[in-house]
Symmetry: C2
Subunit: 189 residues, 2 copies
Protein backbone atom coordinates (compact mmCIF):
# COMPACT_ATOMS: atom_id res chain seq x y z
CA UNK A 1 0.00 0.00 0.00
CA UNK A 2 2.66 2.42 0.94
CA UNK A 3 6.11 1.87 -0.41
CA UNK A 4 6.20 2.09 -4.15
CA UNK A 5 9.57 3.79 -4.27
CA UNK A 6 12.05 1.27 -2.84
CA UNK A 7 14.43 1.52 0.07
CA UNK A 8 17.26 4.03 -0.17
CA UNK A 9 20.72 4.05 1.33
CA UNK A 10 19.56 6.76 3.69
CA UNK A 11 16.70 4.60 4.87
CA UNK A 12 19.20 1.91 5.73
CA UNK A 13 21.46 4.27 7.63
CA UNK A 14 18.50 5.78 9.47
CA UNK A 15 17.38 2.32 10.53
CA UNK A 16 20.88 1.40 11.62
CA UNK A 17 21.14 4.59 13.65
CA UNK A 18 17.87 3.89 15.39
CA UNK A 19 18.99 0.40 16.28
CA UNK A 20 22.39 1.58 17.44
CA UNK A 21 20.93 4.23 19.70
CA UNK A 22 18.24 2.03 21.14
CA UNK A 23 19.94 -1.31 21.72
CA UNK A 24 23.61 -0.65 21.07
CA UNK A 25 26.05 -0.20 18.24
CA UNK A 26 27.22 -3.78 18.60
CA UNK A 27 23.68 -4.99 17.98
CA UNK A 28 23.51 -3.42 14.54
CA UNK A 29 23.22 -6.53 12.40
CA UNK A 30 22.02 -6.80 8.83
CA UNK A 31 19.19 -8.96 10.08
CA UNK A 32 18.05 -6.25 12.49
CA UNK A 33 18.44 -3.46 9.96
CA UNK A 34 16.56 -5.42 7.34
CA UNK A 35 13.70 -6.05 9.74
CA UNK A 36 13.66 -2.36 10.63
CA UNK A 37 13.38 -1.20 7.04
CA UNK A 38 10.92 -3.99 6.23
CA UNK A 39 12.97 -6.06 3.86
CA UNK A 40 14.89 -9.38 3.83
CA UNK A 41 18.57 -9.27 4.72
CA UNK A 42 19.92 -10.08 1.25
CA UNK A 43 17.97 -7.19 -0.22
CA UNK A 44 20.16 -4.74 1.64
CA UNK A 45 23.07 -5.65 -0.57
CA UNK A 46 21.45 -3.68 -3.34
CA UNK A 47 21.95 -0.53 -1.27
CA UNK A 48 24.98 -0.98 0.95
CA UNK A 49 28.19 -2.98 0.96
CA UNK A 50 27.28 -5.52 3.58
CA UNK A 51 27.47 -5.07 7.30
CA UNK A 52 30.79 -3.32 7.12
CA UNK A 53 29.33 -0.88 4.65
CA UNK A 54 26.51 -0.08 7.04
CA UNK A 55 28.95 0.56 9.85
CA UNK A 56 31.03 2.78 7.66
CA UNK A 57 28.03 4.84 6.57
CA UNK A 58 26.94 5.06 10.16
CA UNK A 59 30.36 6.41 11.12
CA UNK A 60 30.09 8.97 8.35
CA UNK A 61 26.65 10.00 9.53
CA UNK A 62 27.90 10.20 13.09
CA UNK A 63 30.81 12.40 12.11
CA UNK A 64 28.48 14.81 10.34
CA UNK A 65 26.07 15.04 13.23
CA UNK A 66 28.77 15.50 15.82
CA UNK A 67 30.34 18.22 13.76
CA UNK A 68 27.01 19.95 13.38
CA UNK A 69 26.16 19.68 17.06
CA UNK A 70 29.53 21.01 18.12
CA UNK A 71 29.65 23.92 15.75
CA UNK A 72 26.16 24.97 16.70
CA UNK A 73 27.01 24.87 20.36
CA UNK A 74 30.00 27.17 19.91
CA UNK A 75 28.24 29.62 17.62
CA UNK A 76 28.09 33.08 19.10
CA UNK A 77 30.46 32.29 21.94
CA UNK A 78 34.11 33.08 22.41
CA UNK A 79 37.13 31.96 24.38
CA UNK A 80 36.55 29.63 27.27
CA UNK A 81 32.80 30.13 27.00
CA UNK A 82 32.86 28.50 23.62
CA UNK A 83 35.05 25.70 24.90
CA UNK A 84 32.80 25.06 27.85
CA UNK A 85 29.78 24.93 25.59
CA UNK A 86 31.56 22.53 23.26
CA UNK A 87 32.51 20.24 26.10
CA UNK A 88 29.02 20.03 27.48
CA UNK A 89 27.50 19.55 24.07
CA UNK A 90 29.96 16.78 23.38
CA UNK A 91 28.91 14.87 26.45
CA UNK A 92 25.26 15.54 25.77
CA UNK A 93 25.60 14.12 22.30
CA UNK A 94 27.28 10.97 23.58
CA UNK A 95 24.51 10.46 26.11
CA UNK A 96 21.64 11.17 23.76
CA UNK A 97 22.94 9.23 20.79
CA UNK A 98 25.10 6.50 22.29
CA UNK A 99 24.94 4.31 19.24
CA UNK A 100 25.87 7.04 16.85
CA UNK A 101 28.63 8.19 19.15
CA UNK A 102 30.01 4.66 19.27
CA UNK A 103 29.81 4.42 15.49
CA UNK A 104 32.14 7.40 15.21
CA UNK A 105 34.85 5.57 17.13
CA UNK A 106 35.67 3.40 14.15
CA UNK A 107 39.41 3.03 13.68
CA UNK A 108 40.59 4.35 10.33
CA UNK A 109 44.10 4.94 9.14
CA UNK A 110 44.93 7.70 6.65
CA UNK A 111 45.57 5.42 3.69
CA UNK A 112 42.33 3.47 3.65
CA UNK A 113 39.05 5.29 3.23
CA UNK A 114 40.09 8.90 3.02
CA UNK A 115 36.52 10.12 2.95
CA UNK A 116 35.74 8.69 6.34
CA UNK A 117 39.11 9.68 7.68
CA UNK A 118 38.48 13.26 6.69
CA UNK A 119 34.92 13.28 8.02
CA UNK A 120 35.99 12.01 11.42
CA UNK A 121 38.73 14.57 11.52
CA UNK A 122 36.30 17.32 10.59
CA UNK A 123 34.09 16.46 13.54
CA UNK A 124 36.51 18.01 15.99
CA UNK A 125 37.41 21.03 13.92
CA UNK A 126 35.08 23.21 16.00
CA UNK A 127 37.18 22.36 19.04
CA UNK A 128 40.37 23.23 17.24
CA UNK A 129 38.94 26.53 16.08
CA UNK A 130 37.68 27.45 19.49
CA UNK A 131 41.02 26.69 21.07
CA UNK A 132 42.78 28.75 18.46
CA UNK A 133 40.34 31.59 18.90
CA UNK A 134 40.81 31.35 22.66
CA UNK A 135 44.43 32.23 22.20
CA UNK A 136 46.26 28.94 22.33
CA UNK A 137 49.54 29.44 20.46
CA UNK A 138 49.96 27.63 17.20
CA UNK A 139 52.71 25.31 18.47
CA UNK A 140 50.49 24.06 21.25
CA UNK A 141 47.30 23.84 19.32
CA UNK A 142 47.44 20.24 18.23
CA UNK A 143 48.61 19.03 21.62
CA UNK A 144 45.89 20.88 23.46
CA UNK A 145 43.24 19.75 21.03
CA UNK A 146 44.31 16.18 21.62
CA UNK A 147 44.22 16.71 25.35
CA UNK A 148 40.79 18.28 25.26
CA UNK A 149 39.39 15.58 23.08
CA UNK A 150 41.00 12.81 25.12
CA UNK A 151 39.48 14.14 28.29
CA UNK A 152 36.02 14.40 26.77
CA UNK A 153 36.11 11.07 25.04
CA UNK A 154 37.54 9.28 28.04
CA UNK A 155 34.97 10.70 30.40
CA UNK A 156 32.07 9.90 28.16
CA UNK A 157 33.35 6.42 27.52
CA UNK A 158 33.91 5.61 31.17
CA UNK A 159 30.52 7.02 32.02
CA UNK A 160 28.91 4.76 29.47
CA UNK A 161 30.69 1.72 30.82
CA UNK A 162 29.43 2.69 34.29
CA UNK A 163 33.04 3.00 35.25
CA UNK A 164 32.27 5.58 37.89
CA UNK A 165 31.32 3.60 40.95
CA UNK A 166 31.55 6.23 43.64
CA UNK A 167 28.40 8.07 44.70
CA UNK A 168 29.75 11.52 43.88
CA UNK A 169 27.88 13.42 41.21
CA UNK A 170 29.05 12.58 37.73
CA UNK A 171 27.80 15.90 36.40
CA UNK A 172 29.94 17.66 38.92
CA UNK A 173 32.97 15.58 38.03
CA UNK A 174 32.51 16.51 34.41
CA UNK A 175 32.28 20.16 35.25
CA UNK A 176 35.49 19.86 37.25
CA UNK A 177 37.24 18.14 34.40
CA UNK A 178 36.20 20.82 31.97
CA UNK A 179 37.38 23.59 34.26
CA UNK A 180 40.65 21.81 34.82
CA UNK A 181 41.30 21.72 31.10
CA UNK A 182 40.15 25.29 30.68
CA UNK A 183 42.53 26.53 33.33
CA UNK A 184 45.29 24.77 31.42
CA UNK A 185 44.17 26.56 28.27
CA UNK A 186 44.15 29.89 30.06
CA UNK A 187 47.65 29.20 31.26
CA UNK A 188 48.82 28.97 27.67
CA UNK A 189 46.89 31.82 26.15
Amino acid sequence: MARKRGVTEDDVVDAAARIADSIGHDRVTLAAVAAEVGVRPPSLYAHVEGLDGVRRLLALRAAEEIERALSESARGREGTDALRALAHRYRQFARERPGLYAAAQRAVRPGEDDELYRALGAAIVPVLEALSQAGVPREELVHITRAFRSALHGFVELERASGFGMPESVDESFAHLVELILSGVRGLA
Copy 2:
Protein backbone atom coordinates in the same frame (compact mmCIF):
# COMPACT_ATOMS: atom_id res chain seq x y z
CA MET B 1 53.02 -37.06 24.62
CA ALA B 2 52.44 -33.95 26.62
CA ARG B 3 49.06 -33.16 28.06
CA LYS B 4 47.86 -35.78 30.46
CA ARG B 5 46.27 -33.32 32.80
CA GLY B 6 43.50 -31.63 30.84
CA VAL B 7 42.98 -27.99 30.03
CA THR B 8 42.41 -25.59 32.94
CA GLU B 9 40.48 -22.38 33.19
CA ASP B 10 43.75 -20.51 33.29
CA ASP B 11 44.89 -22.13 30.08
CA VAL B 12 41.73 -20.87 28.44
CA VAL B 13 42.20 -17.34 29.72
CA ASP B 14 45.85 -17.36 28.72
CA ALA B 15 44.90 -18.40 25.21
CA ALA B 16 42.19 -15.76 25.02
CA ALA B 17 44.63 -13.10 26.19
CA ARG B 18 47.16 -14.11 23.55
CA ILE B 19 44.51 -13.92 20.86
CA ALA B 20 43.19 -10.60 22.11
CA ASP B 21 46.61 -9.00 22.18
CA SER B 22 47.67 -10.34 18.84
CA ILE B 23 44.61 -9.97 16.62
CA GLY B 24 42.18 -7.96 18.72
CA HIS B 25 39.73 -8.36 21.55
CA ASP B 26 36.83 -8.55 19.13
CA ARG B 27 38.42 -11.56 17.49
CA VAL B 28 38.34 -13.63 20.64
CA THR B 29 35.94 -16.37 19.60
CA LEU B 30 35.44 -19.76 21.18
CA ALA B 31 36.57 -21.31 17.94
CA ALA B 32 39.84 -19.39 18.05
CA VAL B 33 40.41 -20.05 21.74
CA ALA B 34 39.66 -23.74 21.31
CA ALA B 35 42.14 -23.98 18.45
CA GLU B 36 44.72 -22.15 20.54
CA VAL B 37 44.43 -24.52 23.48
CA GLY B 38 44.22 -27.54 21.19
CA VAL B 39 40.67 -28.66 21.80
CA ARG B 40 37.28 -28.59 20.09
CA PRO B 41 34.99 -25.64 20.81
CA PRO B 42 32.35 -27.56 22.80
CA SER B 43 35.03 -28.87 25.15
CA LEU B 44 35.60 -25.38 26.48
CA TYR B 45 32.20 -25.45 28.14
CA ALA B 46 33.63 -27.80 30.74
CA HIS B 47 35.89 -24.96 31.90
CA VAL B 48 34.21 -21.66 31.18
CA GLU B 49 30.70 -20.35 30.78
CA GLY B 50 30.67 -19.86 27.05
CA LEU B 51 32.07 -16.93 25.16
CA ASP B 52 30.71 -14.45 27.63
CA GLY B 53 32.42 -16.33 30.42
CA VAL B 54 35.72 -16.09 28.60
CA ARG B 55 35.29 -12.36 28.16
CA ARG B 56 34.43 -11.94 31.79
CA LEU B 57 37.48 -13.89 32.94
CA LEU B 58 39.60 -11.91 30.55
CA ALA B 59 38.30 -8.69 32.08
CA LEU B 60 39.12 -10.02 35.53
CA ARG B 61 42.61 -10.94 34.42
CA ALA B 62 43.04 -7.54 32.81
CA ALA B 63 41.96 -5.75 35.97
CA GLU B 64 44.52 -7.67 38.01
CA GLU B 65 47.34 -7.00 35.61
CA ILE B 66 46.57 -3.33 35.27
CA GLU B 67 46.42 -2.96 39.01
CA ARG B 68 49.74 -4.73 39.39
CA ALA B 69 51.42 -2.67 36.67
CA LEU B 70 50.16 0.58 38.11
CA SER B 71 51.06 -0.12 41.70
CA GLU B 72 54.54 -1.23 40.71
CA SER B 73 55.09 1.91 38.71
CA ALA B 74 54.20 4.15 41.63
CA ARG B 75 56.21 2.23 44.20
CA GLY B 76 58.93 4.31 45.76
CA ARG B 77 57.68 7.56 44.28
CA GLU B 78 55.71 10.39 45.76
CA GLY B 79 53.53 13.30 44.76
CA THR B 80 53.46 14.26 41.14
CA ASP B 81 56.39 11.94 40.42
CA ALA B 82 54.19 9.01 41.32
CA LEU B 83 51.34 10.37 39.23
CA ARG B 84 53.55 10.91 36.23
CA ALA B 85 54.87 7.39 36.50
CA LEU B 86 51.35 6.03 36.76
CA ALA B 87 50.22 7.91 33.72
CA HIS B 88 53.05 6.71 31.56
CA ARG B 89 52.72 3.16 32.78
CA TYR B 90 49.02 3.26 32.01
CA ARG B 91 49.65 4.23 28.43
CA GLN B 92 52.46 1.72 28.11
CA PHE B 93 50.17 -1.04 29.31
CA ALA B 94 47.47 -0.12 26.81
CA ARG B 95 50.00 -0.16 24.00
CA GLU B 96 51.70 -3.38 24.97
CA ARG B 97 48.59 -5.36 25.81
CA PRO B 98 45.86 -3.84 23.63
CA GLY B 99 43.62 -6.86 23.84
CA LEU B 100 43.83 -7.11 27.59
CA TYR B 101 43.32 -3.38 27.92
CA ALA B 102 40.21 -3.61 25.76
CA ALA B 103 38.94 -6.52 27.81
CA ALA B 104 39.01 -4.34 30.91
CA GLN B 105 36.57 -1.88 29.32
CA ARG B 106 33.67 -4.24 29.82
CA ALA B 107 30.60 -2.41 31.09
CA VAL B 108 29.45 -3.68 34.46
CA ARG B 109 26.91 -2.20 36.79
CA PRO B 110 27.13 -2.59 40.57
CA GLY B 111 24.29 -5.05 40.92
CA GLU B 112 25.42 -7.70 38.47
CA ASP B 113 28.74 -9.43 38.94
CA ASP B 114 30.12 -7.73 42.02
CA GLU B 115 33.40 -9.59 41.77
CA LEU B 116 34.23 -8.09 38.42
CA TYR B 117 32.87 -4.74 39.44
CA ARG B 118 35.19 -4.69 42.42
CA ALA B 119 38.18 -5.92 40.44
CA LEU B 120 37.78 -3.21 37.82
CA GLY B 121 37.42 -0.63 40.53
CA ALA B 122 40.53 -1.91 42.27
CA ALA B 123 42.57 -1.40 39.12
CA ILE B 124 42.63 2.35 39.58
CA VAL B 125 43.13 2.37 43.31
CA PRO B 126 46.83 3.15 42.83
CA VAL B 127 45.81 6.37 41.09
CA LEU B 128 43.44 7.29 43.87
CA GLU B 129 46.12 6.65 46.47
CA ALA B 130 48.73 8.63 44.65
CA LEU B 131 46.39 11.59 44.27
CA SER B 132 45.52 11.44 47.91
CA GLN B 133 49.16 11.19 48.89
CA ALA B 134 49.92 14.11 46.59
CA GLY B 135 47.70 16.28 48.73
CA VAL B 136 44.41 16.42 46.87
CA PRO B 137 41.74 17.22 49.47
CA ARG B 138 39.24 14.53 50.24
CA GLU B 139 36.28 16.39 48.73
CA GLU B 140 38.04 16.65 45.40
CA LEU B 141 39.56 13.22 45.36
CA VAL B 142 36.88 11.37 43.47
CA HIS B 143 36.43 14.13 40.91
CA ILE B 144 40.13 14.40 40.23
CA THR B 145 40.53 10.67 40.00
CA ARG B 146 37.77 10.58 37.43
CA ALA B 147 39.41 13.38 35.51
CA PHE B 148 42.79 11.73 35.56
CA ARG B 149 41.41 8.41 34.47
CA SER B 150 39.26 9.98 31.77
CA ALA B 151 42.23 11.77 30.30
CA LEU B 152 44.36 8.64 30.26
CA HIS B 153 41.68 6.38 28.93
CA GLY B 154 40.57 8.83 26.30
CA PHE B 155 44.06 9.43 25.03
CA VAL B 156 44.92 5.78 24.85
CA GLU B 157 41.65 4.97 23.16
CA LEU B 158 41.97 7.68 20.53
CA GLU B 159 45.54 6.67 19.90
CA ARG B 160 44.46 3.10 19.28
CA ALA B 161 41.78 4.20 16.86
CA SER B 162 44.43 6.25 15.03
CA GLY B 163 42.35 9.27 15.88
CA PHE B 164 45.36 11.52 15.89
CA GLY B 165 45.87 12.48 12.32
CA MET B 166 48.19 15.45 12.64
CA PRO B 167 51.91 14.88 12.28
CA GLU B 168 52.80 16.23 15.71
CA SER B 169 54.43 13.77 18.08
CA VAL B 170 51.90 11.71 19.97
CA ASP B 171 54.38 11.07 22.76
CA GLU B 172 54.76 14.75 23.22
CA SER B 173 51.03 15.29 23.27
CA PHE B 174 50.70 12.70 25.96
CA ALA B 175 53.40 14.36 28.03
CA HIS B 176 51.56 17.68 27.66
CA LEU B 177 48.31 16.12 28.73
CA VAL B 178 49.88 14.60 31.81
CA GLU B 179 51.51 17.86 32.80
CA LEU B 180 48.26 19.70 32.27
CA ILE B 181 46.48 17.38 34.69
CA LEU B 182 49.36 17.52 37.12
CA SER B 183 49.29 21.28 37.20
CA GLY B 184 45.60 21.02 38.01
CA VAL B 185 46.45 18.66 40.85
CA ARG B 186 49.10 21.02 42.16
CA GLY B 187 46.57 23.80 42.11
CA LEU B 188 44.40 21.84 44.51
CA ALA B 189 47.01 20.46 46.85
